[in-house]
């Protein structure tokens, strides 16, 4: 709180990047966790909440006639501009926000103050939702060749690795220790993915400390053991994901790469993915392109090309494809490393896993994969995402690139993924938002020391509970193309600009009608229809029975009419279909029936409801609330959008 110089400013005008011609006047509040803008006048949809931890940059612009512009640039690619009437207010907000958005300690992050109304048990449950042990046993581990080594239980051999690590049963503890001493940061070769069909593995490590000529017998034994744990093959690949030049330069610093002559039966391969600095600059350029106001086609395409972003995505995809083919088609195990083995290695191993294993194309599977290959193996989220103020050179969109590779695959294989693009975007948002504890710190050890599980909540359960929003209606798990290895094309034209992520908040750039939403509605309705149909069929069956009974009774007891006429009535009452849905009281069934009918109407009225949307389209009233993916509610902006966003309006031409 001590950082807030100015908790409230009146008469602030809000401009949203996408439609800055119109503004909204309201009040700006600064709280310990959020910047909040409340628009004047209209009652709903006029609040904008921005988490301080999502803010990437605060910029003051030159004063304009209307006031002092303050730009808030967020890590989820939202850009918000406020115009504040008084210079001193603007400065105070600027100073406050600059400090609030650059936390110095983990404890300042939102996840430590986020306190939903759930009890301790529920919070613990949220952390138990994903279980890596279960994931390894799903893969078929431990087995007679692979087991968990206790060597890193106290994080003594490698403080950036998880406590539980799989290694070949045949390697002894001294071999592991020896190998770890020969690897950067002690990150010795360990298992990432096991393919139970052919016993092939993807292992990961950091670079060997080979320098120009050093070798390490234990490390060589380690690789030999990994190779031998795949009984079907006579060699293994060692994939260095760095460009050859970078790897060679590392030799001068006593690091480097494996010498094929020293290791038995390895095939060594460079892949050439650029380092975190290149990637950071590349994304920066891409963001600049995405944020251009009414660019020409040439500016956009040239900018896209000059950013090199898609080239990098392609190189990561190709690396993943190389490894997944080695595993699935050649049955050859692969050891992957880069320098430290937590950036490019994580990308490549996880892309290969998505290609190989349909499980990772399900909601839960992707969660597990990120938890395993990224969180547990020490991808430095705090550094890479810039959670705390610190070394700007450590920031890099490594995980963004992985999520984008998955998105690119979804574009090529629309039926192969259980989840949709909203799921990826939500994950992206939460990785940066620090709303949940999952992506805080740089390693498992740090998280344990900080008691993350005790003090924060886990995101995965939260996403799982919202899973209806994240389902891909086209998902067909049984389809042959979705079984086994995905073989994406890596032709350049198959890599596309991810508009939904980079222009996430520029609503007018997206299709005005969404195929995805439409199909999701239809599928939901189909499910209700199926239930209703079952209900009616049961009802029919009952009625048929009753009719038979009634006829029978009519025949048999004609003389004692009066007494018996009431009987079928009673039975019919007792047998109303309400009973078939679990003896619930009448009110419930009525409601149920009504609900179904109401929803039917709703669908029948879909034109109407889409009319409402369309009138939005027509009038260009932007409803930002619909794509905040539930985190922040955003204001509506009554801006008349020009159909031609260039300077083509008749008034201006």
């Amino acid at each position: 709180m001590e950082h807030i110089r100015m908790p409230k400013v009146e008469n602030v005008r809000l401009l949203v990047r996408s439609s800055s011609r119109r503004t909204q006047v309201g009040t700006l509040y600064l709280t310990a966790t959020h910047t909040i803008f409340v628009g004047k006048g209209s009652e709903d949809r006029n609040e904008l909440w921005v988490l301080h931890s999502l803010v990437c940059n605060v910029v003051k612009h030159k004063a304009s006639q209307s006031g002092y512009p303050l730009l808030i640039i967020c890590k989820n690619f939202q850009v918000i501009q406020f115009i504040i009437p008084q210079e001193s207010d603007c400065h105070d907000v600027y100073i406050s926000l600059s400090r609030l958005s650059r936390p110095e300690k983990y404890e300042e992050l939102y996840c430590f103050s986020f306190n939903p109304s759930v009890d301790k048990a529920e919070r613990e449950h949220s952390w138990d939702f994903l279980d890596l042990k279960a994931e390894y046993s799903r893969m078929g581990l431990p087995n007679k060749l692979w087991h968990v080594t206790p060597i890193n239980r106290e994080y003594r051999v490698c403080d950036t690795y998880p406590a539980d690590l799989f290694v070949p049963k045949s390697v002894t503890l001294p071999v592991i220790v020896g190998s770890s001493k020969f690897r950067s940061r002690g990150r010795f070769p360990t298992l990432s993915y096991y393919c139970k069909e052919n016993h092939t593995t993807i292992c990961r490590s950091s670079q060997p400390l080979s320098g120009f000529s050093a070798r390490c017998l234990e490390d060589e034994q380690m690789l030999q053991a990994i190779m031998k744990s795949n009984p079907g093959s006579r060699f293994m690949y060692v994939v260095d994901t760095r460009p050859k030049l970078n790897a060679m330069a590392n030799r001068a610093a006593g690091k480097g790469y494996e010498n094929e002559d020293n290791y038995c039966n390895i095939k060594f391969q460079f892949i050439g993915i650029e380092n975190i600095h290149v990637m950071r600059n590349s994304q920066q350029k891409l963001i600049e392109v995405s944020a251009l106001r009414s660019p020409s086609m040439g500016e956009f395409l040239t900018g896209l090309e000059n950013s090199d972003w898609l080239r990098h995505i392609k190189s990561i995809m190709e690396a993943g494809l190389f490894i997944s083919k080695a595993v699935a088609e050649e049955g050859v195990s692969v050891l992957v490393h880069c320098s430290d083995g937590w950036d490019r290695t994580a990308q490549v191993c996880s892309v290969a896993s998505v290609l190989l294993d349909p499980y990772y194309r399900t909601l839960k599977g992707l969660m597990v994969l990120i938890e395993k290959d990224w969180v547990s193996f020490g991808h430095m989220f705090s550094h890479r995402c810039g959670h705390l103020i610190g070394e700007a050179k450590e920031v890099s969109p490594v995980i963004d690139q992985f999520l984008e590779c998955v998105w690119q695959l979804m574009e090529q294989f629309p039926c192969a993924f259980e989840y949709n693009e909203k799921f990826l975007i939500s994950i992206h948002n939460h990785i940066y938002s620090c709303h949940y504890g999952n992506f805080i710190c740089n390693s498992q050890k740090e998280r344990k020391d900080l008691c993350i599980k005790e003090k924060t909540h886990s995101m995965w359960l939260h996403l799982w509970e919202k899973k209806l929003d994240f389902m891909n209606p086209l998902f067909k798990p049984d389809q042959s193309q979705n079984q086994g290895l995905l073989r994406p094309s890596t032709a350049p034209y198959c890599f596309k600009y991810w508009r939904r992520l980079y222009n996430r908040f520029d609503r007018e750039l997206h299709p005005r009608q969404s195929e995805l939403d439409c199909l999701m509605t239809v599928k939901e309705e189909t499910q209700q229809l199926e239930e209703e149909l079952a209900l009616y069929e049961q009802k029919m069956a009952v009625l048929d029975k009753e009719r038979a009974k009634t006829l029978y009774m009519q025949k048999g007891v004609l003389d004692s009419k009066q007494a018996l006429w009431s009987l079928p009535l009673d039975t019919s009452l007792a047998n109303t279909p309400q009973d078939y849905i679990g003896g619930a009281p009448n009110v419930f069934t009525l409601q149920q029936g009504e609900r179904e009918r109401a929803e039917l109407c709703l669908f029948g009225d879909q034109t109407k409801s889409s009319d409402a949307d369309n009138s939005d389209q027509e009038s260009g009233v932007a409803d930002f609330s619909s794509h905040s993916s539930g985190e922040e509610s955003l204001p509506s902006e009554d801006s008349v959008k020009d159909p031609d966003s260039d300077e083509t309006g008749p008034n201006r031409a």
Binding site: P295, S296, M297, G298, L301, T302, L304, E305, D308, L310, R311, P414, C415, A416, P473, L474, K476, Q481, T490, A491, Y493, C494, K496, R499, D506, L509, R512, Q513, S514, E515, C518, L519, T526, L529, E530, L533, E537, K539, M540, L543, E546, R547, W565, P568, L569, Q606, T607, S610, D611, N614, S615, Q617, E618, G620, K641, P643, D644, S645, P650, A653
Partner: protein, 549 residues
């Protein structure tokens, strides 16, 4: 018959056909007057039937006695035929060359094609101007059908019947026609029912360097304005290009002479530039070198997406003037047969929900392209692989279809048709068994007696069996104006046309099938539930009399 002379070798055995993403087929190659046919002896493999008219260019290569012909088609497909025997290969190549470049329209396949289906509705009669005028009459009485161009002498590229302001007599029309390029005086293109604003189209005025004016022309377009209202003239050319046109006798409307009109210049490229753009784009798409930079810079250099953006932007502007500014609009470029039609037809798709139905879209193409005199024969004579000297080829219509596809992508539920219809129209505009796209204008089509001697494309498309393929399962009629985004981020490469032959579409096709399945299953359930509900209601009412003694 003269075809026989052109066919030097009618058949060759042992020919191997290579197509990307398909297994190779070995079989017998046959040449007929209009087709190149390759059939294998196995029943399981599909035969290849290729219209000679679809062949854009061919290349020959020899390795020993094995010859290879690379056939590049107007639909952008590239196939390879390996032909054993040098002589056979040369013969086949020269025969294909000759047959695919026949000059005479009356030798084209549509004149020989006999439909294998029964023509239920004759497409030649499906969209007659009188019918659309009836619709107009039901909304307004300000317009009349003029027969001034009955014998096509006033304007050879216009149809015989034209919709013009009621108060303008034929004599004035003649004078206005003499003031417009090619006699294309301003005529009605679209009437916006919502606010009674109109869109007209014409060719450039012939002001020349000394600023000629024509009172009748001024009167004609002023007649479309309500009292006190202003209109917009959208010139699809930049001001510089329009200025240059003066030197050749053309020009643009001077403010002084058209005080009630405000002129806006846009920058839609001329047809020869567009052809070059298409050639470059297709070259980029076929480039097999796997570098990202190369792809993006070639895509950029082709300017295709820029052209799409410019055309779409101009159409949005026209629609905006009409719907938002409540003003009438006159659109023209130079001849009024290319960019003008792109703009007027796209504006209608934005404004008029009827144009987003299959029938309405067909009517739009009939009205704004075929009747309006877009020179299909000239523009579609060659496609992206033409290596000869370009004459007047240009992908004007393809760009229009691309723009429609962009809007369709942005409003996937607002169109009754799907992408397949657009791709089909592209194919048939360039090579077809139907006569619809032959000739350059109504007058030429009449001379060729197309409606008697050939089958209309619409006769085929509008059969229920065919229509099914073109229906958009997501369609929900939407009566509103749909404003597309024209930002570069929103405009995509039309992969269905440009990458069609360069990638496997298996997964995408399956996704489409799944979408169809989801929606059909839903409809089926709805029907079941409704009928059960009715039955139940009936049973309950039947039961109740039993219960009352």
């Amino acid at each position: 018959m003269e075809f026989a002379e052109l066919i030097k070798t009618p058949r060759v055995d042992g020919v191997v056909l290579h197509r990307p993403f398909m297994p190779t087929v070995e079989g017998t190659l046959c040449l007929t007057g209009h087709h190149l046919i390759l059939s294998s002896r196995q029943d399981t493999t599909e035969e290849l039937w290729l219209l000679h008219a679809n062949i854009d260019s061919t290349e020959k290569r020899f390795v020993g006695s094995l010859g290879t012909i690379i056939v590049k088609c107007k639909d952008l497909r590239v196939i390879q035929l390996d032909i054993p025997g040098m002589e056979e290969c040369l013969n086949i190549a020269s025969s294909i060359e000759a047959l695919s470049t026949l000059d005479s329209v009356s030798l084209m396949y549509p004149f020989f094609y006999r439909p294998l289906f029964e023509v239920i509705e004759d497409g030649w009669q499906s969209f007659v101007p009188e019918e659309s005028f009836k619709d107009l009459e039901s909304m307004t009485d300000e317009w009349r059908l003029s027969e001034v161009n009955k014998d096509f002498s006033l304007c050879p590229s216009y149809p015989s019947l034209l919709t013009v302001p009621k108060d303008i007599d034929d004599e004035s029309l003649c004078k206005a026609a003499s003031f417009r390029h090619g006699g294309r005086f301003p005529v009605l293109s679209y009437y916006h029912k919502k606010n009674a604003m109109v869109m007209m189209r014409a060719a450039q005025p012939l002001t020349g360097t000394n600023g000629r004016r024509c009172k009748e022309d001024e009167k004609l377009i002023n007649a479309t304005l309500c009292a006190g209202k202003r209109g917009y003239i959208i010139d699809t050319r930049t001001i510089a290009v329009a200025q240059q046109a003066k030197a050749r006798g053309g020009g643009f409307e001077q403010e002084a002479n058209y005080p009630q009109w405000r002129r806006i210049h846009k920058a839609i490229e001329r047809s020869n530039v567009l052809q070059d753009s298409l050639i470059k784009l297709v070259e980029a798409c076929n480039d097999q070198s796997h570098s990202m930079d190369r792809w993006l810079s070639k895509l950029e250099a082709s300017n295709w997406q820029s052209n799409v953006k410019e055309i779409l932007t101009t159409a949005c502007l026209a629609a905006q003037c009409i719907d938002r500014e409540g003003a009438s609009v006159l659109v023209h470029g130079t001849e009024g047969t290319d960019s003008t039609l792109q703009v007027t037809s796209l504006a209608q798709i934005i404004l008029d929900p009827a144009c987003r139905t299959i029938r309405g879209f067909e009517a739009l193409i009939e009205r704004e392209w075929l009747q309006a005199g877009h020179p299909f024969q000239q523009r579609c004579a060659q496609s992206a692989y033409s290596n000869g000297k370009p004459r007047s080829e240009a992908p004007v219509f393809l760009l229009f279809l691309d723009c429609v596809w962009q809007i369709l992508r942005q409003f996937p539920c607002s169109f009754q048709f799907n992408e397949n219809l657009l791709i089909m129209l592209f194919e048939h505009a360039y090579a077809s068994q139907f006569g619809t796209f032959l000739g350059n204008c109504v007058a030429e089509r009449g001379k060729l007696q197309l409606s008697q001697k050939t089958v209309s494309l619409w006769s085929w498309v509008n059969r229920p069996q065919e229509l099914e393929r073109f229906l958009n399962p997501l369609y929900e009629p939407n009566n509103l104006v749909i404003w597309p985004s024209v930002a570069p981020q929103s405009l995509l490469l039309w992969e269905g046309v440009f990458l069609r032959w360069n990638r496997s579409t298996k997964c995408l096709d399956e996704a489409y099938q799944e979408m169809v399945h989801i929606i059909e299953y839903n409809k089926e359930l709805q029907n079941k539930v409704n009928s059960l509900r009715r039955q139940l209601a009936q049973l309950e009412t039947e039961d109740s009399p039993l219960q009352t003694p």
